[in-house]
Every structure is written in C-alpha cells, then in structure tokens.
Symmetry: C2
Subunit: 683 residues, 2 copies
Amino acid sequence: MRFTRAALLLAAWPFLRADEGMWTFDNAPLKRIAAAYGVTLDQAFLDRLRLASVRFPGASGSFVSADGLVLTNHHVGRSAIQQVSSAEHDYIKQGFAALTRDQEIKVPGLELITLVGMTDITAKVNAAVKPGMSAAAARQAREQAVKDLQKAEQEKTGLRVDPVVLYQGGEYWLYAYEKHTDVRLVAAPEEQIAFFGGDPDNFTFPRHNLDFSLFRVYKDGQPYHPKAFLPFGAGVKAGDLVLISGHPGATSRQDTVAQMAYARDTMLPFRIASMERQRQALLDYAKTSTEAKRLSSDVIFGLENNLKRFKGFLAGLKNAEAFARIQKAEKDLQAAVAQDPKLAEAKGSWAAIAAAVSKEKAQLKETSFIDTRASATLAHALTLVRLPEELKKPEAQRLREFNEANLKATKARLTQPAPFHADLEAARFAAGLQEALDGLGKEHPFVKALLGGKAPKEVAEAAVHGTKLGDPAERKRLLEDPAALAASTDPMILLARKLDGFNRAARKRAEDEVDAVYKEHGGRLARARFAVYGKEQYPDATFTLRLGYGAVAGYPANGTYTQPFTTFAGLYDRAWGQGAEAMNGAWALPPRWKEAWKQLDLTTPFDFAYSCDTIGGNSGSPVVNAKGELVGLNFDGNIEKLSNRYYYDSATMRAVAVDARAILEALRTVMGAPELARELAGK
Amino acid sequence: MRFTRAALLLAAWPFLRADEGMWTFDNAPLKRIAAAYGVTLDQAFLDRLRLASVRFPGASGSFVSADGLVLTNHHVGRSAIQQVSSAEHDYIKQGFAALTRDQEIKVPGLELITLVGMTDITAKVNAAVKPGMSAAAARQAREQAVKDLQKAEQEKTGLRVDPVVLYQGGEYWLYAYEKHTDVRLVAAPEEQIAFFGGDPDNFTFPRHNLDFSLFRVYKDGQPYHPKAFLPFGAGVKAGDLVLISGHPGATSRQDTVAQMAYARDTMLPFRIASMERQRQALLDYAKTSTEAKRLSSDVIFGLENNLKRFKGFLAGLKNAEAFARIQKAEKDLQAAVAQDPKLAEAKGSWAAIAAAVSKEKAQLKETSFIDTRASATLAHALTLVRLPEELKKPEAQRLREFNEANLKATKARLTQPAPFHADLEAARFAAGLQEALDGLGKEHPFVKALLGGKAPKEVAEAAVHGTKLGDPAERKRLLEDPAALAASTDPMILLARKLDGFNRAARKRAEDEVDAVYKEHGGRLARARFAVYGKEQYPDATFTLRLGYGAVAGYPANGTYTQPFTTFAGLYDRAWGQGAEAMNGAWALPPRWKEAWKQLDLTTPFDFAYSCDTIGGNSGSPVVNAKGELVGLNFDGNIEKLSNRYYYDSATMRAVAVDARAILEALRTVMGAPELARELAGK
C-alpha cells in the first residue's frame, strides 16, 4: 500500500471546503475551527450545546431559558399552532403570545427529544461477526447485536434509545434521548411576517422573515428546567464565528460521479420538464375563470417552489468547478481502493453503480409515467384497491406504504377531508395522461390499458366527473366494506385496477435493478471511504444531531456583494418597494406591522446569512456564538445553497437565520410580550 | 418577390420585444405605446419632451423649471462639480447647494444643447445622385449635398446644425441645436450618496443612489426661460407607463450572427482572460505593501468594473433563447434579400463579413498584444515619437488620434499631470509584456524586438525606472523640442520607436481586412434592412435624441422577484446591513446622512427599475409619465441589461432611475435647500 495514512489525510483536505461539514458531536472539528477562526472550544461547550438542542418531528429547536422555553421556526411549529387554533382564534393568521404561563396552550401529541447519551458500540457490533461467517450471516449478526445492545441500554436508562449507523456502517452508535411530552405554545408571530415574501422569497436571501415560534416544556405540570439552555447573546457582526447544532436530514454527497452526471444530464432536466408541463396545464386551467384562477393558485405556487428547488439542484451540478472537485475526489478514492487489498470489495462498485444508472435511465419514463398521474382520486382508488391484497401478505413482502410503520398514515390520508375540485383535478389528470401518451407512445400497454384508444382529456374528464371518491365519506365506506369495494364500478377504481399491475412491475424492476445495487455498492464505497479517510470526514446526514461551523458573511451575487444582515428597515423597504398587491400579496404586512415602523428600532438586524453547512432538518436549529449564546435561529438558505444536497461550497452557499435581536425587538414592540423578551434575555 | 410588405411587417413584429427601441422623435412609436399601455400621446407631448431635453457632453439632461434649472446625474455633472471645487470646498465630497441664485457657480466651458429643429433631407441628398454615377461618385455627391444643405441651414437659422445619418444611410437629417453656454452649478449631493454602493453596486439593482445634480442655464446674465420644461410629477407606481428622452450612444444590434458568435466564443472570453491577468498582476503587486495596496486599489476597482461589464456582455450572448431570435431575424432578412433583386448588393455581405470575422480572429493576438502593454509612459512615448511624423502627412492619411478632430485632445493628454507610480506601472507593464510573450511566443518579431531576449519583468523595470516621461514637464519639453526628441535615448522612447512600426502594421491590417469590410457590408445589410422593414424598426443609436417607452417593473432575479422600487428605508438597510467598512467603504454613509433617517420620510421611493430600452449616453435622461411630468432620472441599468448592447429583452432588462420624490425629499430634509425643492415641484 503506497498511500500512507498521513498522505491520505493531506489528500482529504482539499475536498473539505472551508466551513464544510455536518459533524457528529463525538468528532467535533475543534482543530479546524481553531485553525480557521482562532477560537478554542472545549468539551463543556459541546455538551451544553448538545443538551440544549431539541429535536422536533422532522426539524430542530433548542432550550432558550431556565424555565424550559423552546425556540424553533414558525414553519416548524406551524402544525402545532394550527392544531390549537380555532374558528375564533386563527393564531396562524393573527399570531399568538401568552402573557402569563396559564395562557400557554398545550399541544396534544407534540413530542420533543433531547440527545442525552451517545455510546459507541462499533467494537461490540463488529465483535458479533465471527470468522468464516457468510456476508448475509455477518449482516444478520450485526443487526442482532445492535438490537440486543439497544434493548439493554433502554432497560438500563429508561430512555428512548435509537441505533445510529454512521459512515454507512463504519460506526454504530446508540443515541439516548430524553422525551418531552407536555409541550405548550407560548408565542408565534403572524405567518405573514414569519413567511414574509412567501414562495417567491423562499430559498433566497436577502430575507425578512420573523420565522420563529416559542414553546415551553412542562414536566409534572410545572415548567421544566432543562439540563442546559442557550441564553440570548448580544448579537454577532460580519466575520464572527457561529456554530449550529441541529438535525440535517439527508444529503446525496456520497453519490458517484455517474449518479451525479445522470442527475445533471437526464433526471433533473426530465423532472423539470415534467413539472413545467404540469404548471402549463394549471396556467391554462387558471385562465378559464376567476374561480379557476383562485383554486389553482396554491398548486401553482407549490409547483413553482418545487421547480425552483429542482433548478437549484441542477444549477449546482452544472457548476463545472464543483463537479471537477467531485470527480477528483472519486479518482483519489479509486486509486486508494486499487492499492489496498483490504478494500477489494469496493473495486467493482463504481462500475456496478454505473450499470445501474444506465438501467435507471432506461426505465426513467416508465418509473415516472406509470403512476396516478397527478390525480388525487386515482391515488385514493389505488390505495383502496391495494389494501386488502397487501394486508394478506407478510410484512416484509408488502409495498412500503403498507408496512406497519406507514399503514396508519396511509389509511389516515385516505379518510382525511381534502378539497376536491373536479375541473382542477381533471385538468391536471388530463395533462398527466397526455404526458404518459407523449412519452411512452400510444402502443405502450399501460397507455393502451388506461386510455383504451381515447383521448387523455376525455378519459380524465369521464373519470374525474364520474367518480365519487372526491368525497371522504365514500372512501371511508369502501375502506370499511371490502365487498362494496370488490363490487365497485367507480371509474377511478376501474382505472386503479388497470394501473395496479403496471405500477407494481415498474416499481419492482426499479427496486431490484437500480435501488438494490445503489444500496449494496454505495455501502461498499462508503466503507472504503471510511477506511481511507476515517473521521477526517463527516458522515452523511442521518437526521441525528450534528454540529456545523462558519461565519456571518455576505457573498457575491447579482453582480455585487449581498449584505450579510438585513434590518427592520429592510423589511419595510421590501414591503413598500414591492407593494401589498405584488405576487398574491407575498410582501403584504400584517395589520399591526404596517405602522409599527414608527415604534420599532429600525436599525435592529432582522435576518443574517452565514456559511455553516446545513440542509433540510436544520430548520429551527440554534445558531450560537463562541460563548454558546444564541445569536440566531436557522430557517433557510440562499438560492445558491439548493445544490448543497450534492456538495458544499463556502464561496457562495449561505444558511439564513433570524437574528436573535429581531425576536426580542418583535416580542417587545409589536407582539406585546415584553415579559417573554426578558425571559429570553435572561433578565 | 413573394414577401408582401404587409407580410414583412408582420414578420418584423416578433423581433421587436415589448418596450424595445430607441426611437427617433419623427417616428415615435405612438401606436405601439397605445396598444401596449392604452395611452394616447400626441405631437404636443413629443414636442415638449424634445424641447425640454438637453444634451450634455457624452450624456443627457433636461430642463425642469421655468427658470432654466437643468437636471442630470451626479456622475454626468461630476467633472463640472470637480472643476468648481477648491481645496477648501470639495463639493464632490461634501455636496453643494446654492441657497440663493447668486450662490450658483458658473462652470466655464460647459456647453449644453437642445434639439430645436429636425429636417429630413433624404430626398434632396438622394437627388444629388445622378443616373450612371459610380458608387464612389455617388457617395461623394451625397456627402457634398449634405454639406451644402447643412451650411445653408446654419446660415438661415444661426443655430448649430449637425447632419445625422440614420439607418446607415436609409435617411439623412439635419438636426438644429440651440446652444447654452452660461451654465451654473446649483446643487449636488455628496458623491458617496450619489454613488452609494460604489463599484460593487454599479450596473446592479436594487440600488440606492441619489445620482443627481442640478445646474441652471443663464442667458444675458439672467436665468433662461426654456421653450419647455418638465415639472416634477406626483410619482409613479409599478406598471405605470414611463417614457425616456435622451441620447443613447452606440449599440451593436445590427451585427451579424457571425460577428456575435465571434464575440461570444472568442473575443469576449479573450478580453476577459486578459483583464483577469492584469487584475492578478495588480493583486500580486498590492500584496507587496500597504502603500502598494492603496495605490493600486482604484485601478483594481476600475478593472473589476470593466470585468463585470464584459462578463455581462458575454452572459447576454450566451442566452440561447435570445441568440436564437437573432439568428431567426438574420435568416428572415436573408430570405427577403434572396427574393428581391433590388437588394442584390447585400446578397454576399453575410459571407464577406464572416470571412472578415475569420481574419479578425486570426489577428486577435497581434491586434491585442502589439500595443503599449498597460504602460502609460510607453503610451506617452509612442505619441511623442509619432507626432512629428504624422503632422507631415495630409489629414486623410494620419492615424485617427492625430486627425484635426482629435489632435488637441491627444496633445493635452500628453502634458496633463497624472500620478506616476513607478512600481505600480512596472508591475502592470511586466504583466503586459509577459502576456505578449506567452501569447505570441518568443520568436515573434515584436516580442524579440521589445524584449531582446530578456525577461518581461527585467525589461519593464529597466524602462519604467529609467524613463523621465513620468514627469509631464519632460513630456512637454520633448513635445516642444523636436531635436531633443530625435536625440532622446529615454528607454521608453527607445521602446516606442521599436513598437511604432509593428503597431502601425497591425492596425493597418485590421483596418483594411476587417474594419473596412464590416463598414462596407454592414452598410449594405443596413440598407437592405431599411428597404425591407423601413421605419417599423428604430435606427442604431447615434448619440442623437431618442425616445423610449416602458413600464415601472420588477423582474425575476436571485430566485425571486426584485422589487420595482427601493425606498429611503432601503438605503439605511443596505448601509447598516453591509456595515461602513465593507468593500473599502462602498456602503458608508456621508456624515449628514448617518442620522438623517430620523428626519427623512423613510417611505419615500428612492430608485426604481423600468423597462425602457436605454444604453450609455442615456445617463441623466428625464423619465416622464404620460402627462409629461418628470418622475425619474435615468442613471444606470441592472446587471441583466449589460448585454443590451447586442439585443433587448424586456423580461429581465431594466433601466434604473432616481425617483423624483427622492430628489425633493433629499433637497428638503438633508441638503437644506427647500427652495429648490419648491422650484422643482412648481410651487
């Protein structure tokens, strides 16, 4: 082996960009931070930050007072705020602030967790593998060891214990969580100021979003005193070191060059074209009447938001310099694998993945078009048709959505009331069927089966106007009455029966020929990478607690340099400069904010941009200074950052946070809750 | 001929984008405006707008009060403001406002002109061409006719009369101008607020520039009462029709596809690489000391500004959709030419131009590198060496810069004092020589002659440190003493003697083989275009008065929609959000503006974006509403607009104006000149 470990470590450096990484708390990049920012952090700092960090369902938050106040984003707390609203009290629209503790509103079912213990069980798990075991037996032995250790830890601590696999099997951990089940809503601004700028400003900076909400954890009916909390600090300035603690969800940074090139050249352009087609169908429909325009506007905005995301992914992959870095990293790993017999299992993995990419490409149209074609009622029909059949099978053989883990949600979706607008759905369904016809051709068995030689529009309109499945009561009836379902001649049920087999076949082919290969060989490459670079690299995001570091910083954009901070003055500039009518009122101010500029300290920083490496799941993460004081609340990234799903680049990618000072000023001056501001400021 | 005129007119429409065009006042697009905006403008409107328009040297302005106040940009008035400043009174830095008329400061030499008469002499000029005349004789007959008519008009009116050739010979006009020679400075804000955001924000939007200055025209010692003026109006809102009257300088929109593709694929990347090389040399030099950093910072900023411009040109040409439109327009014109025997002279012109493009490409390195290589003293030396020789020749045979029209300026440049920093110049010159060596190779005769086998750095340092030409007195001495010049052994003079012949040869080759072809065949294509489309098209910009129309409008950028207006609140947001230290203080506020936010009406619109088709020379142009009231003062465009040198696209290109309301509010609240605000508001 010609590569020494030291040489490889040096080789690893160029791939890690300044401020890159979603690091585990056992492997915090303290040396990198010290080298880059001249700041030395210690274990006590890390422990306090970890213990103050809170996980929300799908997102992050933190304890911010000795009396259990929890800070997260408005968009993270949104469903809880919605849940405790009523017809008279629309807290989403009007905002909410508890002036006394007895006004705080319990959110039934909301559960938060804190990471209180981390145990490395890698050695024990690997010890379960005995010499001579087959690969399958080894995998099973490891799984069993993890299960046993998890159970033992759970019994010992009485805590929730989750196994965590890092570096795709390079390390095994048990994370122990304290659960918080009495969570009460304390304060939230109006959604219109939390999400100021709406979908157009989403994923962009400069930004003016007061995207926060406050909850309080109670224990035994009393405010909970957390093991650690983050007091609000005096604020940051450009260039200051900041750290973020939160739960990044998932990244695709370990994909091979073949996978990324496929995403760039085929998959993303294909998805974008498909979305643009749906958008055009919706725009055409919107032109038919004022009511049609109103009904379709949310769907159109949602689609445009998704288009923006996908175009962001694509733009990032088209960055030639970044792509060259990705290629270089792959070449280096290939060279290391070629020279180390211990890494032999990964030797053929690039080729295996490339072959699976070719298959994915060949299957792309079928895996994309053989589905419910944007018809919500057809989706319901398909679930109804499949349910009895799936429930007969053993768990392991069922389609994913009928697993025990997903079954409840699948059934709930079926009976949940949702608006059904026949004309809108017919327009979308017809566009979807037309796309399948154009893409697969009229001789394709699926197309022939669904259209039966008729025009897509005709089929769509007949089915949508003929079905009763737009009514949740009807869906409930068929769900509960298998005989009625079996006898049903509802046109959507008829279509679902035709679709079922085609869709199963396409899914199975993709799972067997593509996904299974990616999983197996992606795992081998990950293990090789871990063998070569070890913990000089951070593991893929796994929605477990991670640490990021960086600086408050503007960036080059729009021909100039974007300001690192916005201020309350900027909020009003944007509102007045856009006008209340622009883009469906995206920049309209809620009533009590309209004149508040006369009272607010307009110099107060509002949002700021910073170079930490974050991704979905980091919403609501605390941003702290080197003293561990809360200076910001992460809520989004700039448009350049969309592509950090694939790679990170500190030159232009920025996370975006609400400045802590804006939260205090808003609580004091607009939301009429100076007491809360005092609690946050630790006074 | 299969194309009917009506069909061609229809065919012409798609090439003209909404709001496109720099229209002559005799051919104002009133029907297009009425169709697009439902607003009917009449001849009186046009006459008043034209008579209120003023031409500054290289730029535009307008009469804005009955007492002869003239409004233009700060950057247009800058040299005049500089001229009347003194050591005690730095009006550039501190701003200026005359509180009474006797405080208004005369600017010696400043001359403004107003277009008071337009005479179409096309028929008379064409009548001078007799049947059977050769092409040369016809050209001469036309030129003589223009001269005679100009002289007669001048004698008749006593006015300045300029001949104007439109549509490259499609039309001939005489434009008669009234001259204003007593022009006094009335008010100007601090440059730091006029050019807030500095070079970084230059060519961008959102913008916060108070880029205005006020002058007053006097006649016989009394304020002049102009024939027309534009009173300040109540302001515009998004979507409102606006019109602009000014003097766009030059466009390249009639270039052929071959020329544009050459600019996109070869010339612009080449120039950008060359500038980046110079920038790198300057950055390296800047690292050598604090003084070096200080000395080079202006040059670096200037280079970066130019880089931004060139990258803008390039980005525009890389817009595939726009390029396809340009190709389509060329194909359509080719089809029309192919079918009309009367247009036969243009038939071979595309091929002739394409051949010349190949030559330009082949010559690119030599025409670029065989010059004075960024050395100002070598440039002075070359002028000195050439002057005696050139003055012996008849006017027509001289190099352009020694023509009667340019000779005075050429000599003035020679003796004008300018800072000479030997180390800075040596660094730039060395980089320039190195570029020539790398590009042409060490065997190239020019490289051999200049370097004599030595390293570029050695040659540059010896020449720069050995020359006395950094001193204007020495240049004056050699200019006035031909014998001393002939005997000089100054190292830069020696280099200039070597350079002279190579440079002349390269210039001549480019002029004969490239420029002459472009002129001749570009003219033929222009005449064909005029024959086919007539005045449905606007003529190329010629720095004569033009009318543009459009609407106040945001545009998609940065992942969202840019606000059409900024406000005074935005000025402070930008200043506070960037910080006073960022980018050499680009966003620092002048002292009296720092606290002014407490007095200013922050809701006041500051700058706005609008879709009129403008280009360099339009600086200072009045922007008026449909009532002919002044609502804005044009000063720049957004980054997307840089490429409108080649084509126009109303989807993203925006001109940028100071809002008239910002000027009034600034005069009243910060500049202490409420009287002027009252005069502008017509009160």
